[in-house]
Symmetry: C2
Subunit: 346 residues, 2 copies
């Protein structure tokens, strides 16, 4: 069963034709008489020959595969439902276009060289990258290699804003955060703290800006800001810091549901009632929001749909659509809306 | 930034040499004078040329990449910490050997054709496959293509037992389950039910066999067996069925921590105290066991280490080791031990 793969030469010998004829039949059959084509195809079937894609992609210049790179250690990729949702959308869209999704896992920065070589090496037709940080080397690796790439989240690195070729799918993070904090103000909350994600990501910075917008200020009260890292543990720590610094706070807006669930844990441990003593609002509307006790008020972004759109943009840049037909309109960045979902925690 | 990638021809023109010379330099430089080699390398650097791996792998017959296929819909891949742990072990081992991990996501059976073509297409040096079901088409796809493959879990398809070439990493599921049920007997439990995983997977069947071993029977009392699917929802449903059929049961052994956590939910909803009324034991010792309330007695298998071993076996079959040197000893299947961890639920 594990014998060597039959070669083009073996097929040629079996069919009694030249290597070139087999090659022509395997790559579409143009210019080969039907009788000869049938003979080659019978030999291919009989030997179980599979054309080597390395050889074939030299001809077609397409691999039929797309790389997905999440610029986070795989521990985070698998513990944050955000990535699962985004991958689900991507997977469905690529699948519909018969394109293979390859998820490239990385442990840390030491893996970047290898990933850069892989992306530049002609193994894939394009790449989808998300959760990039401002100083991430991946975008320039992709740019240097000329690999068509679509980003998840608005790129924030120097020069990104003026690059007309960048394709990305973002959501209205600033508007969503503004809605969240306006809602807390309407409920009569006056000392509203914020737990931010990593501020070298535009999503985290935009959500902080929306918080400031709603409060009508340009700078935050340092006693009311704590930094998390988009994880539950980060939210837990940040909430503890905030309570130590500002014991009189009456609300907190967390930049992700995972951080909000960590904040709820700290509040429970400290004996603070939610929402009676302190109202909590999260961001994402993923599983942790529904599981939270009390159920979490949050801002919904359709993460799966954003994944689908990323894949769709890339397929169009590659001249393909989910229906297999080339599309006319040139692909352009997309920003999806965000919407407050009020539950029990506020 | 997104211009076309420089070609071999462009490098040849820039350096004023032939295509063949550039190719020879790029593939190691054997038989090319140093002066000429330097000139080509300068042109490569200046133009930012990256050799196309498709072309290069025709020469070296290696891609530097390994595919990982989990034979489950991606929704399960991302909701079961078992897979995250196994991937972590695989990722670290491959990374240490400078080999790129490609996780191939699939939505369902309709994606198998495409994955089969990808695996057969020369894109990867080998494959790691896990969570296979008895009738899964993936193993024969890999065998037909001659792709070196290592399986996670003992293969259970017809003919697998007598195939001396199969490589896999398994754990002592039967012995682990036996320990779990013997522990319940020692605690004085007499009506012990079992929640099984999908019985077309050897891990689930072996755990059921270990349950029977401990009870000293060859067939289970049908009133005490319910089938889950290795998910929390499956465990929730199975526990409800068991309580309806056998309201007097005093213990349950669940074939995975996720199913045990679902069973705990049902017991709480039905007002049964754990462990006072009903003792619960899980399997895996992953996060859900520690998070469970009460903390779950379970059987520990070192899932991350099993992932590492799978990658290690494949690298050795490919003639590589984590140290980059070929190893002498031929690779062989591995079965790791399982160990009962007693906590509060029993």
């Amino acid at each position: 069963m594990h014998g060597p793969r039959p070669t083009l030469e073996a097929v040629a010998a079996h069919a009694g034709v030249s290597r070139a004829t087999v090659s022509r039949v395997v790559n579409g059959g143009a210019g080969v008489r039907k009788a000869l084509r049938d003979r080659v195809q019978a030999a291919v079937a009989e030997l179980g020959y599979v054309p080597n894609s390395a050889a074939r992609s030299l001809v077609t210049r397409r691999t039929g595969a797309v790389a997905v790179v999440i610029a986070e250690p795989e521990t985070r990729v698998f513990s944050d439902p955000f990535f699962a949702q985004q991958l689900r959308g991507i997977s469905r869209e690529l699948s519909a276009c018969d394109t293979q999704l390859l998820l490239l896992l990385l442990e840390g920065r030491t893996d970047y060289d290898r990933i850069g070589r892989y992306l530049a090496g002609g193994h894939v037709d394009g790449a989808l990258m998300f959760s990039l940080h401002r100083d991430d080397p991946l975008p320039s690796m992709a740019a240097v290699s000329g690999l068509p790439t679509v980003f998840g989240g608005r790129p924030g690195w120097p020069g990104a804003e003026t690059d007309p070729d960048l394709l990305y799918v973002d959501t209205d993070n600033r508007g969503g955060a503004r809605q969240a904090v306006e809602h807390l103000l309407e409920r009569g909350r006056r000392r509203i703290a914020v737990i931010t994600g990593p501020l070298d990501q535009t999503s985290a910075q935009d959500r902080l800006d929306g918080y400031l917008d709603a409060l009508g200020v340009t700078e935050a009260d340092p006693a009311l800001v704590a930094h998390g890292d988009f994880t539950a543990e980060g939210g837990e720590r940040a909430m503890a810091e905030l309570l130590d610094r500002s014991p009189d706070l009456d609300a907190v807006f967390a930049g992700s549901d995972l951080m909000a669930s960590g904040a709820l844990r700290t509040l429970r441990a400290r004996g603070r009632r939610v929402p009676e003593d302190i109202a909590v609002v999260g961001y994402d509307d993923l599983e942790p929001a529904a599981w939270a006790d009390p159920a979490l008020t949050t801002v919904r972004q359709d993460v799966q749909e954003m994944g689908r759109m990323m894949a769709g943009l890339l397929l169009r840049r590659l001249g393909l659509g989910a229906d297999g037909a080339p599309r006319e309109e040139p692909p352009a960045p997309v920003v999806t809306p965000a919407r407050l979902i009020v539950r029990d925690s506020s």
